[in-house]
């Protein structure tokens, strides 16, 4: 649970549709595309559940300088790749919220508080949240983001939070729900289903 409890940044900007989190972390600790996260809203009475869909590294002059130099030592390279706390900004799509112990898969009534800490959703909560698949349609409805890749990543994350024996059944169910939602476009469905294969 320790890794779940550690904040992965704070909310810098937000709307009911989603929020932006920022953090300085070395690469191994960056949040991952398709990670479920939570951020407090409504004075802590609820938590917005977000799905991280865009990670960007903020402007970093040192990296630029090092990239340009010819005499970068192996230790410096390793330092940059492993140690450096790179400013990471990520966007999370609001896919639901938690009210008490209950998860609701619709847009939250209010965005999270600015600077609210953002946490990874624990495996148990991921299981609980993704037991329903209504959030898929919230994701699919979004424009201008790589929706299908996000769906695949999110559902693989959700599957990974389950015991080995349940994963395939879960992915089949989830993919079937995707099929219901994007069944009109078989080419799209085909690649989506392929990326959901266990």
């Amino acid at each position: 649970m320790t890794s779940d409890d550690k904040a992965i940044g704070r909310v810098t900007r937000c709307s009911t549709r989603g929020f932006v989190g920022a953090v300085r972390l070395p690469e191994p600790e960056w949040p991952v595309f398709g990670t479920f996260c939570r951020a407090e809203a409504q004075q802590g009475h609820s938590q917005v559940i977000g799905l991280i869909y865009d990670l960007s590294i903020e402007d970093d002059e040192l990296a630029r300088q090092l990239a340009a130099t010819e005499s970068l030592s192996p230790e410096q390279l390793a330092d940059s790749q492993v140690n450096r706390q790179v400013p990471v900004e990520y966007r999370a799509l609001a896919v639901g919220y938690r009210h008490g112990e209950r998860f609701v898969q619709s847009l939250p009534p209010q965005p999270p508080l600015t600077l609210a800490p953002i946490h990874r959703l624990s495996d148990a909560d991921v299981r609980k949240f993704t037991a329903q698949l209504d959030f898929l349609k919230l994701v699919i409805a979004v424009q201008e983001i790589p929706v299908d890749d996000l769906l695949a990543a999110a559902l693989q994350t959700a599957a990974a939070a389950r015991p080995e024996s349940e994963r395939r059944a879960y992915l089949v169910e989830a993919a079937a729900e995707c099929a219901r939602l994007v069944g009109r476009d078989l080419t799209r469905l085909e690649s989506l289903v392929r990326s959901l294969r266990p």
């Binding site: 089949v172 099929a179 078989l186 289903v193």
Partner: protein, 552 residues
């Protein structure tokens, strides 16, 4: 079924049971479309199964699965299916995009306040859940087995359920047993007849072309099964043979030998043979004239080798063309080969048979070796039927208003029925008349045929109950369904019957079309029939038998 609580259980709701699917479209005439629940395997289903549809209003519908199809939400799927080795994609697609569709022919409906299902007049609302009919559901539809209901077989995959035929309704109108050869028509017919005889609802006159009904019958496998005379040793069945030698050599008990005096044969008896004997219209047309001029011994005289002055005179007078007469004489040579034809006035065989029938004894007319001669079969069947029918008509007319005096209902069983009922002759033969006049004179037909398409449409449409084994000829299938509404859906069912021991029953004697695996014609069946003289004991035995068999 008047009890309220029983009513509630009629096609009861299936709590906790997954529906097969839900109604998504269709019409009363073309049948309902049911989208199959993705969790069920389409491969588990079969045409001919029953379903119960829970209508929104509380009304329940009973239907028959008539077709099973694969469908997809996206029609492009057929051009763009998932990769063949991608089991995951196949599983996903089959949950949502691709699904199974059932065509369901709605058959019966039941209102909450009704105690008996009625023929369908409407369809269930959209999205009504569809359940597989349980054994209890089907059992209720087909009623209980009793004195007037014959257990004929079990619906497919429901061994515990009995499909019972309403015998009164069965004999009330002409019926048919159809199916291509080798599908077990005669077994089925034997079961039907045994049922009719046991129930005492009617007498049967069976023109037994291939010696299938009277005495021991060899099955295809070589196993010997009992004939009706053995099953009913108490006098309910008489065997009359045309060929004493064959009957004796088979060890058949014969109650009477049928001899027909040539003088008893009328031109009308010969007319039906014209096609088989190769008589032209002119020649056939000359027969009544010859009969009139030559008198009752007309056939003997035509066949006589000694010169006949009168015949010569007729030719001289140009009453008949010499070549025509010659042809008739030549073609009448056929009668010489028919050993059952004896010169002279013959005996009282027809009266005897009528008497037997009217006293409640069914008559199996064994043709022995003559069964291979279609002309002989047609001649005799036609000869006897005309005369028996005539007596029935007379008796019915005498008994007007006096029910008790009415002759006992009679079922005349003919094989190769299309020979008697083809459109060219059906209009003016006694068989055509019987089929058309319904039960006016208490006589109906049970026609056994492998080529129903050869039977006159009008006659076909009068066939009340049709018991059909596998048919694969399109025209025959069409013929079987002539005059049946919603038949299109049933065609698929019929075309997919097994070759043996499966039959589709539809019409007058069953509440709805049903595919059955017909009951076995075996010891258990014999036991049920209780082959003993003593009626009381017979009943006892029957009861015990049914208890043992069906655990009532």
């Amino acid at each position: 079924m008047t009890n309220k609580s029983e009513m509630d259980t009629y096609f009861g709701e299936r709590k906790g049971e997954t529906p097969l699917g839900m109604v998504v479209g269709g019409s009363l005439s073309s049948g309902l479309l049911v989208k199959l629940d993705s969790r069920l395997s389409i491969e588990r289903l079969a045409v001919g199964r029953y379903v119960v549809i829970q209508g929104k209003s509380g009304r329940k519908f009973f239907g028959l699965v008539t077709d099973i199809a694969l469908d997809a939400t996206n029609p492009d799927l057929v051009r763009q299916p998932p990769a063949p080795d991608d089991a995951f994609a196949a599983e996903v697609y089959s949950r949502q995009v691709a699904y199974g569709m059932l065509s369901v022919s709605p058959m019966l409906m039941l209102d909450p306040e009704d105690d008996q299902p009625r023929p369908n007049k409407t369809v269930p609302a959209h999205f009504a859940p569809v359940h597989e009919a349980s054994a209890e559901d089907v059992e209720r539809v087909f009623g209980a087995e009793d004195e007037k209901h014959l257990f004929l077989g079990t619906p497919l995959d429901m061994e515990a359920v009995h499909v019972n035929l309403d015998l009164d309704r069965f004999v009330e109108r002409s019926s048919g047993v159809f199916g291509k050869s080798g599908t077990g028509k005669s077994f089925l017919t034997r079961i039907l007849l045994a049922g009719i005889i046991r129930a005492g609802r009617a007498s049967a006159l069976i023109f037994d072309m291939h010696n299938d009904y009277g005495w021991a019958v060899k099955e295809e496998g070589g196993h010997e099964v009992k004939g009706l005379r053995q099953l009913f040793p108490g006098g309910q069945v008489s065997v009359v043979t045309l060929d004493e030698d064959t009957s004796r050599s088979r060890g058949s008990k014969v109650d009477r030998v049928l001899k027909i005096g040539t003088q008893q044969i009328e031109p009308e008896d010969v007319e039906m043979l014209s096609g088989l004997l190769g008589l032209s219209d002119v020649q056939t047309g000359a027969l009544p004239f010859l009969r009139r001029r030559l008198g009752p011994g007309w056939i003997d005289r035509l066949l006589s080798d000694t010169p006949d002055d009168e015949l010569e005179k007729m030719v001289e007078d140009e009453r008949i063309v010499s070549s025509t007469l010659g042809a008739i004489q030549r073609k009448f040579e056929f009668f010489r080969r028919m050993g059952f034809l004896v010169p002279g006035a013959g005996d009282d065989a027809v009266d005897d048979i009528f008497r037997r029938l009217n006293q409640g004894s069914s008559v199996v007319l064994e043709f022995g070796r003559y069964g291979n001669t279609l002309a002989a079969y047609i001649l005799v069947a036609n000869y006897l039927t005309r005369r028996v029918h005539e007596r029935y008509v007379r008796k019915m007319n005498e008994a007007v208003g006096k029910k008790a005096d009415e002759p006992r209902p009679l079922v005349i069983v003919i094989e190769e029925a299309h020979k008697f009922l083809d459109p060219a002759v059906a209009g003016h033969t006694v068989f055509g008349n019987i089929a058309r006049e319904l039960r006016k004179y208490n006589v109906t037909l049970l026609i056994v045929d492998q080529r129903p398409s050869g039977i006159d449409d009008e006659v076909m449409s009068q066939i009340g109950t049709r018991v059909t084994c596998l048919l694969d000829n399109e025209a025959d299938i069409r013929a079987v369904f002539s005059g049946v509404s919603g038949a299109g859906a049933l065609r698929e069912v019929l075309a997919r019957l097994d070759t043996r021991q499966q039959a589709l029953i539809l019409g007058h004697a069953v509440p709805m079309p049903v595919v059955v695996r017909t009951r076995d014609y075996d010891e258990a069946f014999y036991q049920w029939l209780g082959a003993t003289d003593d009626a009381g004991e017979r009943k006892q035995r029957a009861k015990r038998g049914s208890e043992a068999l069906f655990g009532e």
